[in-house]
Symmetry: C2
Subunit: 256 residues, 2 copies
């Protein structure tokens, strides 16, 4: 039993990478085999897990270009049961290169078929756009986790994202659904956070996770050490909230 | 005397739109005629200035598609001397549509030639990517203002951006230079902010503005009222810091 989940939102800086790294690592803690794909040319998930961008391995670029299989590109991380396929700067050119290809939106989906049953969850950290890289992730995925910062512009962007998901469900991937919406960077002292959170719960009901990720300095510090939050500071509210989110997701998908 | 300045950084959520809206509005306060172009499909600058996305006007999309001149698409805002060319959802498809065009990277630059001398500054708010929309902005611009959040991932992304600017200078726009780097969302209580800020000043020296934009709740609240910060809360630290940034930029470019 395996599930491919995209972590996507075209609004920038809402916590996609922070959620991808810390959720994947927290699920790996429970003994599940987890794979994280970094399809963002910025490569923040790759460096957030301490993988150097200069290592001479195959990356997601080679997979999309057809020069490598997924299994040849898989790397171990400092977390047991968590593996990664790293990003590379070449992904910047991939969007233009993919345009001319046949079935350009399902290249990633086909590449993943060889390994999908070896992992309980495969997460895909997406760039802040709705271009061909994110499109490939949404076609390969069964569902989408949408991190949303509790701010006005992030709220405004949700309509565009749900519209795009509906479009992809109709044309390319009939099973695609929202796995859940994660409220991030929630600041209890700030009324804007409360207003935006209640607005999102009003529209999306129980699609919104109970777990809310608070604004927490340790979550901003951990990436500079190349570690997920529970290896950097297990006592932080950031570590607690992502462990609680992992439990909530395991519970919803029926823990074995 | 007029200057076209792109506001760009492929890292998401670093304060591009907040800087575009509030700097443009602050400069307009000093009596200069200012034009803001919103080339981001998200359209946050457009809504941040209270322009409804459903208004039946020409947008940046029609300009890039060749169906409208820039002057036909210019709208007034609630701020004297500040005009805007709004974004539209159609820009999402523009990147793919532009690929096949001749001189696809200089479509915006040619379109702007008819109006450039009517404004003291023309700012372009860019999406969080280095695709054809941002490329068009960087080819049309004489310089780039780079907002950088004082966080690790934002620092990591600066190398990629400066490399891209160098590439564009060599191939398309020999005059392109960094106008300045703006440190944003600076939290004095947080040592990460201080570390990242000193790292950036070490690398970029006096390209970094003296004015540092603090993390300030009012800057997050103002967009939901469709107002720049000084119309929403003139006494806020956010308003003070963007007015000070405007003064610094006027001073550097020799106020008339
Ligand atoms: N809950 C949190 N508390 C404090 N800081 C956070 C939190 N979540 C994320 N951050 C920080 O905020 C910034 C933005 O988060 P992140 O990079 O994960 O967003 P993203 O959506 O992946 O951005 P992009 O759109 O560029 O891919 C990062 O510097 C990160 O360290
Ligand atoms: N100095 C600040 N203090 C507090 N909040 C801020 C500040 N600057 C920006 N914000 C808020 O942080 C969020 C990100 O800022 P903004 O949208 O301007 O960044 P951006 O770089 O334009 O994002 P994108 O990459 O999606 O275009 C917004 O919700 C904004 O209101
Ligand atoms: Mg990211
Ligand atoms: Mg923006």
């Amino acid at each position: 039993m395996s599930k491919i989940v995209a972590i996507a939102n075209q609004k920038g800086g809402v916590g996609k990478t922070t959620t991808a790294v810390n959720l994947a690592a927290s699920l790996a803690l429970s003994g599940e085999r987890i794979l994280l794909l970094d399809i963002d040319p910025q490569g923040n998930s790759t460096s957030g897990l301490g993988i150097s961008r200069d290592s001479p391995v195959h990356t997601l670029y080679e997979i999309l270009a057809g020069n490598s299989s997924v299994s040849d590109a898989i790397l171990d991380t400092s977390v047991d049961h968590l593996s990664i396929v790293s990003s590379s700067i070449d992904l910047l050119g991939a969007e233009i290169e993919l345009i001319a290809r046949e079935e350009r939106e399902s290249i990633l989906s086909s590449a993943l078929s060889e390994i999908r049953d070896s992992y309980r969850y495969i997460f895909i950290d997406c760039p802040p756009s709705l271009g061909l890289l994110t499109l490939n992730a949404l076609v390969a995925a069964e569902s989408v986790i949408v991190p949303v910062q509790c701010e006005y512009y992030a709220l405004e962007g949700l309509g565009l994202l749900t519209q795009t998901i509906r479009l992809i469900r109709r044309s390319f991937n009939p099973g695609l659904d929202i796995e859940g919406i994660v409220l991030t960077m929630f600041d209890t002292r700030n009324s804007l956070s409360h207003q935006v959170a209640s607005e999102i719960r009003k529209h999306f009901g129980d699609k919104v996770y109970q777990t809310v990720i608070p604004r927490n300095v340790a979550l901003g510090e951990a990436p500079s050490h190349g570690k997920p939050i529970f290896l950097y500071d297990i006592r932080s509210r950031g570590a607690e909230s992502y462990l609680s989110l992992a439990k909530e997701i395991l519970h919803e998908n029926g823990v074995r």
